[in-house]
């Protein structure tokens, strides 16, 4: 199945290396991946292909890796309503602006170099959205209260 994994790590780059190595070893097929530095560490977001039976194990494995602060995983919902969208575009693309216009209350969870994860309050039907906009539903998170920031249209 296609799923999206969002990870926050401590500031030691070796933790991110471990995670990439775990993806390799556990057979997580990376469709797209983005990484951004934060003051407290790194954020990694990846859309991945994994057999459905393995997803829960990998989520649990990732959340117990030393140096990983939080893990959240989202399931791709190509047909149904989704409360999150992932934009997988080129850095100069205007897709983000279009999505923000369509969903003015959207909050940005992650943003870096054309890859954005947005929460769309209330959920919306995204049928007809451009191909680089992928709808997701959040399944599990180790974050008690997700820290979301309102995105500004550029």
């Amino acid at each position: 199945m296609q799923w999206l994994i969002a990870l926050e790590t401590n500031s030691d780059p070796i933790t991110s290396c471990r995670l990439i190595n775990i993806f390799r070893r556990k057979g997580v097929g990376i469709v797209t991946l983005a990484m951004a530095a934060r003051p407290q560490g790194f954020s990694i977001i990846t859309v991945a292909e994994t057999p459905e039976s393995e997803v829960e194990h990998i989520y649990n494995f990732l959340r117990r890796v030393e140096g990983v602060q939080h893990v959240t995983y989202y399931r791709h919902e190509p047909q149904g309503d989704a409360s999150f969208v992932f934009i997988d575009s080129e850095p100069q693309s205007q897709t983000l602006n279009r999505v923000l216009q369509d969903f003015p209350g959207a909050k940005m969870v992650f943003g870096s170099a054309g890859k954005y994860l947005l929460e769309i309050p209330g959920g919306r039907d995204l049928a007809g959205a451009p191909a680089e906009v992928l709808p997701f539903a959040r399944v599990k998170t180790s974050i008690p209260q997700p820290d979301l920031i309102t995105a500004q249209a550029s």
């Binding site: 030691d12 070796i14 290396c17 471990r18 190595n21 070893r25 829960e56 194990h57 990998i58 649990n60 494995f61 959340r63 117990r64 030393e66 140096g67």
Partner: protein
């Protein structure tokens, strides 16, 4: 005014404050400042002859004590020589802190002499690895390293120490508490999960407790025994769980899996409830996965959430410390005293297991005139002390010891179980002996594995470490040869070890008493003499080389398809009887 100390002094003081009473290592260029500080520090260090032995010794120390074992290697080859042992500790969840020297910070990445990317190389072999950048950071990092090693699912942690950090002055702020004392274990189960598990136990008629190394790591052996006796449930242990439940307890089933007994594996195949505690449904335990305990519901208690549903579908997963979880489960069951688990059904189940024991007991040819390896192990078990610690290498002798040694206490079994690293047994025994100088520590090794780490005979001789080495010598890489015999049409390729040193004479050359034992009749006397003193010693038992490990579950087969005994060669009269019968 803050105290100024060198990085090396800070490191040694941090080790002392973390409760380290001994560590194992071998010096080299970049760690010279550390050894210089060690000279007058009063911290005990054991000079090994190869860094792999240092890490295996730290592992053995950790398994025997439940504390963190510490080892040290210099940069480059010193560090890479630790990797096998760290990987073994990672597989078996053993808390080890490995210290490695590193080239000075300004030379990292410049291909300096004896430089290697230690943190990168050990990334998958450790829980966490640190590169220290300042002497003042050392107390924090060491504290975190010890805490990490014991927290959650325990495991090895590496601290890489550049030479300039070891030399520079720093202003340390030490901790008053040890990192080991701050271990954290998550608890994710709810009361509803616990009640459901208790219901399942009370409703079951043919339950089995299946227990692994997690039970030892959380010191849950008293709770295990209490639960087993309370609900009258038989207990099987994995290779990692041996010692956690007494072998001679009436509810003991011994080891399960590839070389488990017929009764044990039958009980797994026929149980209606499997309660896994700190075990990971390893392929050597389960055989063909889809047929493993297929008639049962399953409860799984584990501190690592990623173990639940990893290999086998679980009905109730209790993520948490084994000891706390078992205690809560016992309380929940006791609370419902009136819902007594059907005693008659439980008794019938135990009787059925007994009948399987009777059909195919775990045995060998006890009347053979040849010196059977199992006989040697049984004899050593019989004459050893109640609290003796036994260490093994990997291969046939390992499985025979797991089958025939009488385990009486927890933390008396040292075994590289997951990685299966030959060369482990002897240095691990050395580490355990350092922790318990007054107890018997016996290293069972094969003639193959022993040749991988026997250079540390010099270490035990130098420090008079009274380890007893019992070589189960079948002049072969026995387990590999067994597989060639059974599964590769007896095409024996490179498993013959007839070209080997005289181990007894080799021991003597190090100043260690050595003796070769060739005959069954000499075993008892040799063992009694061997165990009678407090000196290192070596016995080289030339056992029957044709003996194989049975029962065996062939690769890819289910536990029900186990082969319980070797194909019997018929005597001439039996062949004639068969012909007449036709």
């Amino acid at each position: 005014m803050p105290l100024k100390q060198s990085g090396s002094e800070i490191l040694l003081e941090s080790l002392r404050r973390e409760g380290v009473d001994v560590f194992f290592g071998l010096p080299g260029g970049v760690v010279l400042p550390l050894y210089d500080a060690l000279y007058s520090s009063g911290v005990r260090h054991l000079l090994v002859r190869h860094e792999q032995a240092a890490a295996f010794a730290a592992d053995g120390y950790a398994r025997a004590t439940g504390k963190v074992g510490v080892c040290l290697g210099t940069s480059g080859p010193g560090a890479t020589n630790l990797v096998t042992a760290l990987t073994s500790a990672m597989m078996d969840s053993i808390p080890v802190v490995a210290l490695t020297g590193q080239v000075p910070l300004h030379l990292i990445g410049k291909d300096a002499f004896q430089e290697c990317d230690t943190v990168g190389i050990t990334m998958p072999s450790t829980k966490r690895s640190f590169l220290v950048r300042s002497a003042s950071d050392i107390p924090d990092i060491m504290h975190e390293a010890f805490k990490t090693a014991v927290s959650g699912r325990p495991g090895p942690v590496l601290v890489d120490l550049p030479k300039n950090v070891l030399m520079e002055p720093g202003e340390p702020t030490y901790f008053n508490e040890q990192g080991m004392e701050k271990k954290e274990r998550i608890r994710e189960w709810t009361d509803a999960d616990l009640e459901r598990a208790a219901d399942m136990i009370l409703e079951s008629r043919r339950a089995v407790l299946y227990v692994g190394g997690g039970m030892i790591a959380s010191a849950a052996w008293d709770e295990l025994r209490e639960l087993a006796e309370l609900a009258n449930i038989p207990v099987t242990t994995t290779l990692m769980g041996l010692g956690g439940f007494p072998s001679e307890h009436p509810l003991s089933l011994g080891m399960l899996g590839m070389h488990g007994s017929y009764a044990t594996n039958q009980s797994i195949c026929n149980c209606d409830l499997l309660i896994a505690v700190g075990a990971r449904f390893d392929d050597r335990v389960t055989g063909r996965l889809k047929d493993f305990a297929s008639l049962s519901k399953k409860i799984h208690i584990d501190v690592d959430p990623s173990e639940i549903n990893k290999n086998v579908r679980i009905d109730v997963g209790l993520v948490g410390d084994a000891r706390q979880s078992l205690r809560a489960l016992i309380t929940a069951i006791r609370r419902r005293k009136d819902q007594n688990p059907s005693p008659a059904a439980r008794q019938q189940w135990l009787q059925r297991i007994d009948s399987w024991r009777g059909e195919h007991p775990l045995t060998y040819d006890r009347y053979s005139s040849a010196m059977k390896p199992q006989y040697v192990i049984e004899t050593l078990s019989r004459y050893s002390a109640e609290d003796a610690i036994v260490s093994v290498d990997v291969g046939q002798h390992q499985m025979w010891t797991a089958q025939f040694w009488k385990f009486r206490q927890p933390r008396t079994w040292l075994c590289s179980s997951g990685l299966g690293s030959m060369g482990y047994g002897f240095p691990a025994a050395m580490g355990a002996q350092l922790a318990f100088p007054d107890r018997q520590v016996i290293a069972f090794v094969g003639d193959g594995g022993f040749q991988m780490t026997l250079n540390d005979l010099a270490t035990v001789a130098q420090y008079k470490v009274p380890v007893k080495i019992a070589i189960i010598n079948n002049r072969a890489l026995g387990m590999v040869r067994q597989w060639q015999e059974l599964f590769f049409e007896k095409r024996y390729c490179d498993t013959d070890l007839n070209f080997a040193p005289n181990f007894a004479m080799l021991a003597e050359s190090y100043g260690i008493r050595g003796r070769r034992v060739d005959h069954r009749a000499d075993v008892k006397d040799a063992v009694q003499e061997f165990l009678s003193d407090r000196e290192p010693g070596l016995l080289d038992f030339w056992v029957d080389p044709s003996e194989n490990v049975y029962p065996i579950v062939p690769p890819g087969a289910s536990l029900a398809e186990m082969v319980v005994e070797p194909p019997r060669v018929l005597a001439e009269e039996e062949v004639l009887d068969d012909l007449w019968a036709v």
